[in-house]
Each structure stands twice: as structure tokens, then as C-alpha cells.
């Protein structure tokens, strides 16, 4: 099947992207697959200046899921542009930069810095990181904040498509998506992690130094599907589905409820070549289901 998809200013050779924070800067995966095979890759959240992130331990395994509180450790936008971006096959595969900042102006500065970089296909705005105490959670929650951040990024992003990544830790995700749309977002992505916690009954201590962290993996797929379904039917923007995708079937489930593309996150830890394999597996499953294109399948859930 022709796997190409185009939406919101992005053209991808297939709908398989990797999720921010689970695929490093992409280069780490070169021994495990051909990056050119992916529809795109979203790099670890980047901030203006390098960040050290949270203290250890930062990760914990949970039933069919995991918690993380990495705290946005990253090398900063300058080093990313200088050392990482040139080594990525951005002519063949969309390189999407995930932006992290603590204020709307910083988001704008980040966007401005990347707007002129030929190798960057789109910007993904992380308004929903629940790991960081300075205000990540607040950003994800208040529609007014989401709108302000989106506007700031959009104003500086030049012709780069702007993806706003939404948090599921809200009463009304459609209101959050609408705020992003009002702010000028081209695309929505959902979901980021659910806020969760794990503790050790023997040590009487949290399993994460940060106490709370973000829950991801197959455990949260039902929540992700619900959010994407709600967004896709309520809003005119294209949506990238994220949350617990580990198989071709999972990916098609998101497309069925209305997603234009998907991101593979935690499943990369099951084995580092998960995303690469998924491209072939989706192709095979589409064949089995006799699909002609994603167009006809997307959002075709019968209710």
C-alpha cells in the first residue's frame, strides 16, 4: 500500500514517528535500523539552555507501563543544531524537534532559533510535561496558557508546521485542543504521559526521586485512544496519536479513531527496533485488511 500521509503541512513517507524522549536524538538507534525508513522522528525535548534534569532514580516499571521523571535533561538547542541535526537523514525522514520551556517567551525564542534550520520538518510544543515542577503541569492544564504558548511559537516558527502536544491530565482535553487551534496550531499530538507514582513498601520511599512521574506504555493506550477520538471528532485539526503503541494493530486503532499519524514511545524499550519493524508490520496489516489507503480508513469507526 502507498503509506504516504500528508497533513497540516507535513508530508511523511509513512505514518510512523518516534515519540519524544524515547528515541534520544535519533542517532542512538542507527545500529538498530535505517532511520530513513521512518516517517519521522521526534527528538528529546530541547530547551534554550542545556538542562541537567531530575535526580535519580528517574524511571520505574509498572504493570504494562512505566513511570519516568527524567525532567527534560537535554543538550540545549545550540548543541543540538550543531552536533546532532547534521548527522540525521533529514532529507529522507522528517526530523521534528520537541520544544520545552517554562514560559511563552522562551518557547518563542526556541521556535525562532529553529525556524531557519532546513533540517527541521516541524516543531512539537510540549505544553504538557508533568515531570517538571517549574510549571510544566500548569502549562498543560490551562487552555489560556496553551493558547499563549502556541501563539508565541507560531509567531516565530516561520513556515514550520507547529504541533501542539496535549496532556491527558485534564478534565477536558477538547478544550485544551481548541485553545491550541485558536493559538494557530497546525497539528495536535496526544497524549503525553499520565501523572502517576510508585512506592517501595519496604524502603517506605518513592521509586522516583521526583516522587511523581509520567505513566506511559500499553497500560495507557485506552486513555490515548479516547483522547484522540475526542479531539479528532471535535476539532478540524489533524491529530497524531500517541500512547501505548506497540504493534501494527495498535497503530491502526489510532488511525481508526481519527489519527493522521502515530508516535511510538515506550514500546521502543521492548526492543530498539520496534519503530522500524512497525513500518513493515503496518504495511502487512493494511494488506490483510485490504486497505487501499489510510484516507478511507482514518476515522472510519462505526458508532
Amino acid at each position: 500500500m502507498d503509506m504516504r500521509v500528508s497533513f497540516g503541512g507535513l508530508s511523511l513517507k509513512n505514518p510512523v514517528l518516534t515519540a519524544s524522549g524515547t528515541f534520544g536524538y535519533g542517532l542512538e538507534f542507527m545500529p538498530y535500523g535505517d532511520l530513513k525508513k521512518l516517517g519521522g522522528l521526534v527528538v528529546k525535548g530541547i530547551s534554550l539552555k542545556p538542562r541537567q534534569g531530575n535526580p535519580m532514580p528517574r524511571i520505574a516499571e509498572t504493570p504494562a507501563g512505566m513511570l519516568n521523571a527524567i525532567g527534560l535533561q537535554n543538550i540545549g538547542v545550540e548543541i543540538f543544531v550543531r552536533d546532532k541535526l547534521p548527522r540525521l537523514p533529514w532529507r529522507e525522514t522528517a526530523v521534528i524537534v520537541n520544544l520545552y520551556a517554562c514560559a511563552a517567551e522562551e518557547f518563542g525564542e526556541l521556535a525562532a532559533r529553529l525556524a531557519g534550520e532546513e533540517g527541521v520538518a516541524a516543531l512539537e510544543v510540549n505544553v504538557s510535561c508533568p515531570n517538571v515542577s517549574e510549571g510544566g503541569a500548569a502549562f498543560g492544564a490551562a487552555p489560556s496558557q496553551i493558547r499563549r504558548v502556541t501563539e508565541a511559537v507560531k509567531r516565530s516558527a516561520g513556515d514550520k508546521p507547529v504541533i501542539v502536544k496535549l496532556s491527558p491530565n485534564v478534565t477536558d482535553i477538547v478544550a485544551a485542543g481548541r485553545a491550541a487551534a485558536d493559538g494557530g496550531a497546525d497539528i495536535l499530538s496526544a497524549i503525553n504521559t499520565l501523572t502517576g507514582m510508585a512506592v517501595d513498601v519496604r524502603k517506605r520511599a518513592p521509586r522516583l526521586a521526583n516522587v511523581v512521574g509520567g505513566l506511559s506504555g500499553p497500560a495507557i493506550k485506552p486513555v490515548g485512544l479516547r483522547c484522540v477520538w475526542q479531539l479528532a471528532r471535535a476539532l478540524p485539526l489533524p491529530v497524531i496519536g500517541i500512547g501505548g503503541i506497540a504493534s501494527a494493530e495498535d497503530a491502526l486503532e489510532y488511525i481508526l479513531v481519527g489519527a493522521h499519524a502515530v508516535q511510538v514511545g515506550t514500546a521502543t524499550f521492548l526492543r530498539p527496533d520496534t519503530a522500524f519493524r512497525l513500518v513493515d508490520e503496518i504495511d502487512a496489516l493494511c494488506g490483510e485488511l485490504s486497505l487501499q489507503s489510510f484516507e478511507g480508513y482514518r476515522g472510519s469507526l462505526s458508532i
Binding site: T22, E28, P31, Y32, P57, I59, E61, T266, T268, P272
Partner: protein, 257 residues
């Protein structure tokens, strides 16, 4: 780019060691183009299903045409489930990963193992050009017959210390102190639980010995991507222990370690 790939391998044998707390897991030869003692693999049995998502980091004890041998302690749910593997069962596996222990042909080398930390030294001893220069000291809380020591038959000396009570700990630290002092002109290599490594480091610094330790941090990816396994280096930066380690020179690590 070095070609590593993630492989599906079959289990050849699983042998419980005496006491049932530890076992030897032998897999089909993965055909690594090369590997070095101290490096590890990420291993994820198919039987983990979707319940346990992460692979487990396990040191390469030995690897040749007769297979990949891992020496594993039942530490929790994953290593417990792994203990139920049977010949023919499949695991996903990637590696060899990370840094390795230094070999200095002519230097007397002290191998300090805390329990299952002995695993990487099996390969180290087997591949060392002058095994007579090696001295292994194994501190153990499980009975000694839970540890297969025949791989160390050819080395200079094998010494063991059975720590049964908390009181024994002082005696063990005293013994470590003495041995490290004796190898201050050589190499001190250590693998085991973090408190043990901290002690070794302190003693190595006290006696001015060159020292490497192999860290055990929780790992999700094993390849530097998730930033879940970081440790603070001497410059104060948080670096991935899966790619910049697991074996570090102690002087490259921050005091906090």
C-alpha cells in the same frame, strides 16, 4: 555505524545453581563480532508479554560458539520470570553494550566481586593473557556453592568471604582494605552492589590504586536514549551509565557516585 541489531535467540539451557537463588542461562551464540568482559546485554524474554516492558541488563559472563552464558540472581519479578525459561524459548537480545574492564597484561589485578557481581569476571579471567596475575576476591551472602568458581581455576588466586551476619561486614571491609593495599601498584576492578562499590572506591583512593567499578542502575533502553540510567561524572554532568559505563574509572565519577 557499528551494526548491532536486536536478535531473537533461543534458550539452550537453564541450570539452577545450588540453593536455587541463582542460575546459569545459556542462549544460542548471538555471533557478536566482538565483545569485551564488563560489557552487558539487554535481554527480554518473549514471556514478559506486555506485563513487563523493559529488557533486563545482564553482564556477559561468557560468549563463544557454544553459546552466550549469563549468570543471574533472582532479584525480582523479571529475573524470576526469566528463571522459568526452558530450552527453545525465545528472548529478544541486544548488545554487546557499554564499556569494559581494562586489561593490563603485566599488572597484578585484583577482581573484587560482590555476589553475582562475579559474572563479568568469568569472561575477564578466561580472556586475560596472564591469568596468573589475577586475584579474585568474592564476597558472598549466599552459600559458596551457589557460585561456579571453576572458570577461575587457572588464575593466580581465588579467595572467598562468606558474610553471614551484619557483624561480618566489618571483617569483610578489613579484608578488602588489606587486599586493595596490596594491589595499589596494580589494578583494582569491582562489580557488585552499589554500597560495596562505594567502599571499594574509598579504599582504592586511600591506597592510591587505579580502580574501575561497574555500576548497576535501572535501565530502560541500554543504548543511551532514555536518560533513565544517568550518573554524575567528575565534571558534574549526568552521563548515561549504559553507554559511558557500566564500567567507570572511579576518578571519572563524582564523589556522590
Amino acid at each position: 555505524m557499528e551494526h548491532k541489531t536486536c536478535r531473537m535467540l533461543r534458550v539452550r539451557a537453564l541450570k539452577e545453581l545450588s540453593g536455587g537463588e541463582q542460575y546459569l542461562l545459556t542462549l544460542d551464540d548471538p555471533g557478536f563480532s566482538s565483545w569485551k568482559p564488563g560489557q552487558f546485554v539487554m535481554i527480554r524474554p518473549v514471556s514478559f508479554g506486555l506485563e513487563m516492558l523493559w529488557a533486563r541488563p545482564i553482564s556477559i559472563a561468557m560468549c563463544d560458539e557454544s553459546g552466550l552464558v549469563l549468570m543471574v540472581r533472582r532479584a525480582g519479578r523479571g529475573t524470576e520470570r526469566m528463571a522459568r525459561l526452558a530450552p527453545g524459548d525465545e528472548v529478544a537480545l541486544w548488545g554487546p553494550l557499554g564499556t569494559s574492564f581494562t586489561t593490563d597484561r603485566e599488572k597484578p589485578t585484583l577482581l573484587l566481586a560482590g555476589g553475582i557481581g562475579v559474572a563479568p569476571f568469568w569472561g575477564y579471567a578466561a580472556r586475560h593473557p596472564r591469568p596468573e596475575n589475577l586475584h579474585l576476591l568474592l564476597g558472598h551472602t549466599l552459600p559458596l556453592d551457589a557460585f561456579p568458581l571453576d572458570p577461575f581455576a587457572g588464575i593466580g588466586q581465588v579467595e572467598t568471604f562468606y558474610q553471614r551476619t551484619m557483624a561480618d561486614l566489618d571483617a569483610f571491609v578489613a579484608l578488602l582494605d588489606e587486599r586493595v593495599a596490596g594491589f595499589s601498584g596494580g589494578l583494582v576492578l569491582a562489580c557488585g552492589p552499589t554500597p560495596f562499590l562505594r567502599t571499594v572506591r574509598r579504599l582504592a583512593e586511600k591506597h592510591g590504586a587505579r580502580c574501575q567499578v561497574s555500576l548497576e542502575n535501572r535501565m530502560a533502553c541500554g543504548i543511551g536514549a532514555c536518560l533513565g540510567c544517568v550518573v554524575k561524572d567528575a565534571a558534574g554532568n549526568l552521563v548515561q551509565s549504559c553507554t559511558r559505563g557500566p564500567v567507570f574509572w572511579t576518578h571519572d565519577l563524582s564523589e556522590e557516585m
